[in-house]
Assembly symmetry: C2
Homo-oligomer: 310 residues x 2
Amino acid sequence: MMKCKKCGIKASVNMRHHKMALCKEHYLEWIPEQTERFIKKYEMFKREEKILVAVSGGKDSLSLWDILIRLGYQADGVYLGLGIDGGVEYSHESQKLTEQFAQQRNLKLHIVDVEKEYGQSIPMLAEKTHRGYGKPCSVCGLAKRHEMNRIARDLGYDVLATGHNLDDEAAVLFGNTLSWEGTYLQRQSPVLAESNGLARKVKPLCRFYERDMAAYAMLSGIEYIYEECPFSVGSTSIYYKEMLNQLENQRPGAKLTFYLRFLEAKNSGLFAQPIAVEFATHLCQKCGQPTSAPDLCSFCRMIEKVSLEN
Amino acid sequence: MMKCKKCGIKASVNMRHHKMALCKEHYLEWIPEQTERFIKKYEMFKREEKILVAVSGGKDSLSLWDILIRLGYQADGVYLGLGIDGGVEYSHESQKLTEQFAQQRNLKLHIVDVEKEYGQSIPMLAEKTHRGYGKPCSVCGLAKRHEMNRIARDLGYDVLATGHNLDDEAAVLFGNTLSWEGTYLQRQSPVLAESNGLARKVKPLCRFYERDMAAYAMLSGIEYIYEECPFSVGSTSIYYKEMLNQLENQRPGAKLTFYLRFLEAKNSGLFAQPIAVEFATHLCQKCGQPTSAPDLCSFCRMIEKVSLEN
């Protein structure tokens, strides 16, 4: 029988990568403690700052919100209605679970519906723009970034927090490394500083394995949407996650080492300072967000194009 | 039927990663042409320089020697007798094939036997030093580097050429990337400049897939040792090669892209200049090779230690 490292009773979660097992009670203490440690270590935010958590209804973002509240931070949520409805009514179900989570805990939740706001759901935008070869993932990413930035700014939040876990971050890093995307490698970080009027972005869960977050959500009784987005099937990031899981199986801890050593190497100056390309010297004439284009940002250009065609 | 891109007859080799198939005749022209291109592109050596090829009896190093001779370079060979004899009498067989190759082509081959030179074979050194946890790979690498450097210097060669192919280089890069080994990442290159009296080191085959080199050796009738070193079974580098092969199967060309984009990124300044750590400020008191230790280099220290214990 695997025993809890802290109290010796039967363990609920065994983390091979940390060579540590914990019982339910101590696990539910340990995860927030660790999160607090990462928040401080990477200087993500201070207690007096207003945090906006991007919640999707999945285990990671709901757990993140739960943890930040437990830790006593001022964290509101924002849910983006994407209008994605596979066989499971994905968007509908995830919104319902997010609302229920907020109500039960008496938390403030902002809801933005992309279709109501712009007349087009994500699948509609994807189809009309032919971006992403039939998969709306690139349109969805663009819309999410744009809307999250907009809401954080309009509502005066200091920080935008997302639920990306280690598996997410390691997969992104793996992809950027396989193609040696210098700019992305130089930028990938648990914290992106505020710039050009966009809120600071932070990833407080970036050092937790996906399965550890699933255990946290389950043990703390959070009801979340189990299904992955129906469009994610066969995506490159899932393929990279599988490869990293192979490595992890072979050598427990490999995924964490890969990510942490990258952060350390970056910190100790492995990469040259990025050449100061002026990515975003203009402000979008429609939404006011920074952009490299002289008139409209990519999102507003997309919306305008689709609207004109209708 | 797959047709040769150059002449339209039935192709012998299909390279999915290059979207190109070639017949035997044109393949045996293409590989040396490409090698010449890489030699020039990476400024490996000039026609008047004296090249020493490190030959093991395997397909890569014998093919490299064959190609350099075809291209008209002055290339002699050096074979290092390691005393590794698994079920196939590995070292014995590979030496025989190397000697036969040189004799048939009337080439100059230097043979150095580690046991005759130092009283110990590689497996004996590995056992006595307890390096490498039962696998002599680290001892073998140390001995090879030391001896190749010594022979190139003593016999006045300008350049030491090794048969590392793309699969080898990509696997090393993959390992260094997974652990973000800054110094190794900054150093990995098709050419290592001469320094401290050590000959320049070059890898003219670094852009060829392993299977393309196997095809070259086979089609040009080179007899080489098929067996891998018996100690390589289960090595990390073989594991990395398998992972990269998975990626390659999914996306033909991925392995080459990974390696080439790395070289490009490095060239365009992705990495900061390595901090000028003075790795090798001393010369070994026994062999005269550069070392970071104040008295003996790692190899001479190992030999001395083992000799004292006898």
